[in-house]
Symmetry: C2
Subunit: 208 residues, 2 copies
Amino acid sequence: MNTDSFPSQILENAVKEFSQLPGVGRKSALRLVLFLLKQEKNDVLRFSDALKKLCEEIVYCKVCYNLSDTEVCDICSSTKRDHSTVCVVENIKDVMAIENTQQFFGVYHVLGGIISPMDGIGPDDLTIKPLEDRVNSGEIKELIFALPTTMEGDTTNFYLFRKFNNHDIKITTLARGVSIGDELEYTDEVTLGRSLINRTPFESSMKL
Amino acid sequence: MNTDSFPSQILENAVKEFSQLPGVGRKSALRLVLFLLKQEKNDVLRFSDALKKLCEEIVYCKVCYNLSDTEVCDICSSTKRDHSTVCVVENIKDVMAIENTQQFFGVYHVLGGIISPMDGIGPDDLTIKPLEDRVNSGEIKELIFALPTTMEGDTTNFYLFRKFNNHDIKITTLARGVSIGDELEYTDEVTLGRSLINRTPFESSMKL
């Protein structure tokens, strides 16, 4: 679409901002902006304000590096959580996914990425140093690695394992196995093989 | 996705705003917000500001009802345009499409919709009264109807035709015919039939 034909600079600016979002092209951006123009003025102002707050007020929790409204996030400051069990995850979406299970009562450590030499991300780009400090403080009894099952995830797992294996803490990782609802014939060999080796007593499979 | 698991109210608010956009679900909204969080603070502030301006400063041109930064839009205030030829369109996207052709040198009238009883949109919901005033002012020599080729578009065409037929103005509509690049065998009968009836001298087809 020719940018010259925008009837209004304000409109063009708004379209330009939307079209910088991932997966939003110029035509979709125009559609979204025209949608907003039809909304109540206050609704659009609230949208604008939400974005302003997003970049000005949100912070990373100084303990676990999760996103937070306060210096220390709700999870890290909760007295109901087990602060000696730390689940190490890649990003905040993983925290949300685990919180949604309502099965974890420990705290988190958000790495902010995983080691990926191809993308130029090394250990120093992640929050591994602060994790070391947490471990060194002696308050942590167990680290649960909940990283992606990709090559980069495995690399990060091994790096962290080597770093913390000589400490007096338990290091665990998420159980791998056949997902609930999966058909055996479509499950890959590695997963199926591992789920046979790590088979669990039938009673424990009924807990959830 | 459970809303309880958002680690931050600010984050949740931003996700909520994005998920109200058409075609954006909660998961996509979260993806967009996390993308914005990775951007420079100034970029997000500019986005926020663009939205604020969008709802506070943009106006409808008081002549043609196109979106505009000023009381009278650039097209309506241009001395290079032919103000006696008015192209009647449904919405601003149509203005942009026609401007992109660079083949129209008249001015516009944006109806803001088309007559659609099914959606509860009648003539009074559109800018037909202001169009009448423009016609009555005697400055208009030709009205070009450039409305969609749908039932609602045709209804609106007939309504406008009946209203303005007794005035001393020329009323025209966009030529219908086989689109450039279309194959004859896939063109519908009505279009093909009309394009035969309204066949044009070969020389004029080479103008564009």
